[in-house]
Amino acid sequence: MAEPLIDCQDVAHTYLRGTPMAQDALRGVTLQIRAGDLVGIIGPTGSGKSTLIQHFNGLLRPTRGTVRIAGEDLWAPQTDRRRVRQRIGLVFQFPEYQLFEETVRADVAYGPRNLGLPEDEVSARVDDALRAVGLDPGAFGPRSPFSLSGGEMRRVALAGILAMRPEVLVLDEPAAGLDPRGKADLLDRIERLHRSGLTVILVTHSMDEVARLARRIVVMHGGRVVAEGSPREIFAREEEVRRIGLRLPQAAELVRRLRQRGLAVPDALTIAEARVAIRAAIREGSRGTV
């Protein structure tokens, strides 16, 4: 079995350690992310999701435990953290707030240029990154980022990270604040990036989003990983999900309620699945009664 791309062993993190304000944000997280995975991290506010992902690229140093990237201990003295960090692209919440250059092209080029890459390589990367997020480099490159819509600005910010050519894309609430069309476009882009070989880690509050996209779900609560599994496995544990303040995806909730009413409805996590499941159940039900 290949080595995990990200390997967290017993990672703990305490903010303001040694002060009266000390707060344990992570209390021993052990977690592996494998190359090519699409992992959703869910959990209520304050469960440690954002703290955890900042350990993936060394923005935060664990108070205890180790983080390995492709086998390399991120905090070992000999590790070139700058190089390792480039493998993990972290997209924060509302990343468009961090846009600052005069043109879209200059903004996306900022990271690769800082790597000291030759200008033609920078330029090629910018073109690729803009295309990957669905923005035509010719049309959008010369524009001011601040003349764009919210969804377009967010895609420019994402392109800035992609231009660094990371192996892993970590996104914290990537669709927050976008309208449904903007949200669907962005999630579609992320799915395509995953299909093209990128490992994707998605932090989200939306159970519907994670049910649709993720191959694997990690559930956090109180600074710990409390469950891990496929969306189907996780949302089958309805009581637990509810107890920590999360909800079922709407389709799963609907199926659960229909079963309580005596309808034999198969599992469904998305409304497209629910459509098929309900049709089947109603058909069966009517056959029984006719």
Binding site: S149, D208, A251, I271
Partner: protein, 288 residues
Amino acid sequence: MHEPFIEVADLEFVYRPNTPQAVRALDGLSLSIRTGEYVGIAGGNGSGKSTLARHLNALLQPTAGRVCVGGLDTRDRSAVWTIRRQVGMVFQNPDNQLVATVVEEDVAFGPENLGLPPALIRERVNWALETVGLGAHRRAAPHLLSGGQKQRVAIAGVLAMRPACIVLDEATTMLDPEGRAEVLDTVRALNRREGITVILISHTMEDLVDAHRIVVLDGGRLVADGPPGEVFDRIEDLPGHRLDPPPVAQLARWLRSDGLSLPRGLYTVDDLVEALAALARTGVRPDG
């Protein structure tokens, strides 16, 4: 019949007028909202929702047209403070709205600025915190609360001003599912029990299922105005195409088009469960 509390007539608003960056955010919008109504305002990013919200308590003044609140014109400078006391605003990010280190001090901030006597301030703060269900957290530090609790503190701060109307601009966007449910339940209770006029802005249609009426904006114009079930049924036919019906409404539509004889206007899990259970009982076989 309630009389209109808010009257928006032919409202136009242009950001950075007379510059090359001029943006027409509202383009001839008319709308009236009665006392005690719960109105959802939906629309895609850039449809003008937030710009409209900022006109309702005179944070913005119309470029053309008119906005009246409780009979007062928002362009009348002497009326601005009266209007702001009547129309409270809650914004998206709870962390940007809380100012004090203790919950009750935060809620007292508004009434203190009004120069009310301390006993009355205390009474209002107590009432506001009880109303949003945070009476037990009065001494807590706001930054240690959950997102939903923070937003409820922000709502309590607005309530302590005893407004007739509360406007929530994407106030659920940054919350987890439980926080979102807490805020929506609180807002619903404010409207149903306290009779406060509620204007809830969101581009997530599921947030708006408690509204009496949903108004949809696109390109700074009003493109739909009606009860939730009716608006959800035609959401995909509206210009702009930036909105989705709530998942349950979408599913009900699909099942109807699959030949299941479901009534129109279903949009909550409860309603769809009832309708499907009834359908299963009658044993009607779908076509196809």
